[in-house]
Subunit: 213 residues, 2 copies
């Protein structure tokens, strides 16, 4: 086991050396960009090259490529959760939910959120990641519940529904990602209209118990 396979959280026993900290930051930035561009299949060699470091250095900071992915995913989850918690205090809960979904799609950009849910077991096994996932689930559930209390969202959808649906707009728009980067906003609009109570028709299938198996 490597000495520095921690995952962002918890201050290290001894602080990193200056150059190591720099490299780690560059590595995370490069990994984020490369995963965004090529999905979870981005190669470690490419990430290292983009970061301007050697391949070996990558594995010094993260024992496995999946752990590196886990760090990125964790960052996204925490960012989104914090944003959602801020919005929980907003007066207009429907607007807050829409704002939350917009920001979530924006942060995640083309890095498909779907692997936040169906991520490989190795990533989800990391306690920090699954904890952050639970946190986000809770936040979304609360936002949805408040929006429903105010009549801004139809009563027959659930938190897990919204979690599963929230990555749909950016995914639907992904074929035109390059030529029309803002298209996901349009499809988030369509989705949100589908979540509204006005003109809602009964849904032909019960909601899932949880967004993960």
């Amino acid at each position: 086991m490597h000495p520095t396979n921690r995952l962002e959280t918890a201050p290290p026993a001894r602080p990193l050396r200056a150059d190591a900290a720099r490299n780690r930051e560059a590595l995370l930035a490069a990994a984020s960009a490369e995963f965004a561009a090529h999905g979870a299949d981005a190669s470690v060699a490419d990430i290292a090259r983009r970061a301007g470091i050697g391949k070996g250095t990558v594995f010094r900071h993260f024992p496995t490529k999946e752990h590196l992915l886990g760090a990125i995913v964790l960052d996204r989850l925490v960012t989104i959760s914090e944003l959602g918690e801020d919005l929980l205090g907003a007066g207009d809960a429907g607007r807050a939910l829409l704002e939350f979904l917009t920001a979530a799609c924006e942060r995640v950009q083309q890095l498909d959120l779907s692997f936040l849910l169906a991520a490989s077991p190795a990533v989800l096994a990391e306690p920090a990641v699954s904890a952050a996932q639970e946190r986000m689930f809770g936040v979304v559930g609360a936002l949805v519940a408040r929006a429903q209390e105010q009549g801004a969202v139809r009563a027959d959808v659930t938190g897990p529904d919204v979690i599963l649906l929230m990555c749909a707009p950016s995914h639907a728009a992904s074929p035109l990602q390059d030529s029309d980067p803002g298209l996901w906003r349009r499809y988030l609009g369509v989705l949100f209209d589908g979540l509204r109570p006005e003109g809602a028709h009964p849904l032909p299938h019960p909601p899932p118990a949880a967004p993960v198996p």
Copy 2:
């Protein structure tokens, strides 16, 4: 170049030998199942094993794994297009569109339709595939137009919108594919409510010119 790298269409100059035809059918069935289970990354070796044939035989029928994928995609596109053309004569155009989308999601199941759009260049380069794609685009456009004329679908969405959105339900439900295989119906319901005119809010982004770059 292989002698039999055709792609379903056009009767061969000379008919295939009996065993070759059998193997080809088994190969297509196995490839369909394997692609459905593991996405486009399914390995040729696995496909051959499932079909009960040797790996070399796969490449005798299709010069490349991508051509094999192309054949599957082509089949899906043609099936869906035919179904859509049948439904063009239906009286209730809104119901027809919903039925079409339901059938499309059903046929495609977990085999994500997204690579019908963002498919690798090699697959789309095949004239038969791009022709079938154009055909499906036309059918969807016509179904949407008729539904709009009857006031069953909001006026500010377009054919390309629906094409991009039609794979969203099955994709959103995919994390729970195994535990709840019919969940996509629920999300198709949400999407379709979002496409209805009642309660529609203005969309924050213009529609794309075409669903492919």
